[in-house]
């Protein structure tokens, strides 16, 4: 059967993550939450350690810790520290505590690299089900609440006056972000999850006139990065996750250069 081929599973896993991360990544860019995505992702390694210690599923552990991290950062923001300072502290402490926690786990030999940089070629059928389940959930969340999310991203008071609760939309994004991090770990790893959110969205910006167009193009850029990255990794015998991000970065550079050279349309 087709799914028996590890390359096919890798491609499907990558596509799932790319399709969810593209539109969600647009909100991360628009709301200037890049570091927020980083912090949530770095907290995930702590989740990995906890789930190994408690022998629960990695997905559940990462989801819980990422959610906790996102909620903590939201709650602490605006209470005396600048957001980038707060995120700098939280993000790197979470990573450090996670790495230390993993070292406590005796008995299990943990392949840390697989969690830090992903291990897309080792995706199982079970992983595929989790990744696509998560991706569909994220797309549904973002798709169904699209207009409300967009309005509160633009201006919370404007949203409030139109009957949209900006706090609820913030929660929707936080949950979607945590789910994305949890499903993307296997594909690109903790350190590069944020790249899958931000790079395709940033690449799409110069070619978009509306938010919807930008979300669609970002999804497309993600898909091309996954396909191109896996192909390149196969040919060059390089690690797959980082190669995917490299392809996305090359696309970003090409797009920015093109938009600078071509006359602006907007």
């Amino acid at each position: 059967m087709m799914l028996d081929d590890f390359l096919v599973r890798a491609v499907l896993a990558g596509l799932g993550v790319a399709l969810a991360a593209g539109p969600l990544g647009c909100f991360v860019v628009w709301r200037r939450m890049a570091y927020f995505g980083d912090a949530t992702a770095h907290a995930a390694i702590l989740g990995v350690a906890l789930s190994l210690a408690l022998s629960t599923s990695i997905f559940a552990g990462v989801l819980v810790v990422s959610l906790l991290m996102a909620v903590t950062v939201s709650a602490l923001s605006g209470r005396g520290y600048a957001m980038d300072t707060l995120l700098g502290v939280m993000s790197h402490s979470a990573l450090a505590f996670g790495l230390v926690a993993v070292s406590f786990l005796s008995g299990v030999r943990v392949d840390l690299m697989a969690y830090l940089f992903g291990d897309i070629l080792a995706v199982t059928r079970g992983d595929l089900a989790v990744i696509w389940g998560g991706a569909v959930l994220v797309l549904l969340l973002v798709g169904l609440r699209w207009s409300a999310l967009l309005t509160s991203t633009l201006n919370p008071d404007l949203a409030r006056a139109s009957g949209v609760n900006p706090g609820r939309e913030q929660t929707v994004l936080t949950v979607a972000l945590a789910v994305t991090v949890a499903v993307a770990i296997k594909v690109v790893g903790v350190l590069l999850v944020a790249a899958m959110l931000i790079v395709p969205a940033a690449t799409a910006r110069p070619f978009s006139r509306t938010p919807e167009m930008m979300a669609a193009v970002a999804g497309g850029v993600g898909v091309v990065s996954v396909l191109g990255g896996l192909r390149a990794a196969f040919v060059l015998d390089t690690p797959a996750g980082p190669t995917i991000v490299c392809v996305a970065a090359v696309l970003f550079t090409a797009a920015s250069t093109a938009s600078m050279l071509l006359p602006s349309r907007s």
Binding site: T151, D157, A161, S162, S208, T210, S266
Partner: protein, 247 residues
Amino acid sequence: MSLVSLKDVSVSLGAQRVLDHVDLSIEPGEIVTVVGPNGSGKSTLLRTIIGALKPRGGQVSRQSGLRIGYVPQRLHVDPTLPLTVHRFLGLPRRVSRAAAREALDRAGAGGLDGRQMAGLSGGQFQRVLLARALLEKPDLLILDEATQGLDQPGAASFYRQLEGVRAQMGCAVLMVSHDLHVVMSASDRVICLNGHVCCEGTPDVVASAPEYRALFGSGTQGALALYRHSHSHSHDSCGSHHASAAE
């Protein structure tokens, strides 16, 4: 029945009490202007009325099904967010091309439909914000220093447009402004705010109230006089204009 009424409302931002025992109500169709010095709680008052801030004490009641059109003080469109005027008008509820064009025409921003929000001038931007507020078919239009950043002819033309809109749509208007003389000309009622309601009434009553003069000094007496004369295009009023502007 009042569209909105505040009874004994107090609001704090952090440790600071910004609004203190405020009573206020807005009736259908009237134009109400809130004036007050910086930090007097004008924006806080508006944000409490739209429900973005919860009062610490007192009661805010809105007519059931009340539709509010809100024009914020500033709207920052992040450069990473591509947004056409048409798409902006359709947030959060999509609108047809025809409805969008009609609202833009009404707000004096006709023909801007396909433009990017980031590429608009200050005056165009405020008119597009007004058009979006009108698309809510508001019972109450709320403007928070909507002419900030516009020059005086720009502000005056914006307010003329607003009066026209009010006449056509019959909505109540609640606005906050620094442009004292222009604003007062259009208002049915002026509320002078400084944490609490200092004085309230028709423009004439407020302008001569000692509380108002204490807040704004006697210089604004000249500004108000300037408005009264500005409809009679005599040279005298021009003279007094320059004189009071120089004060």
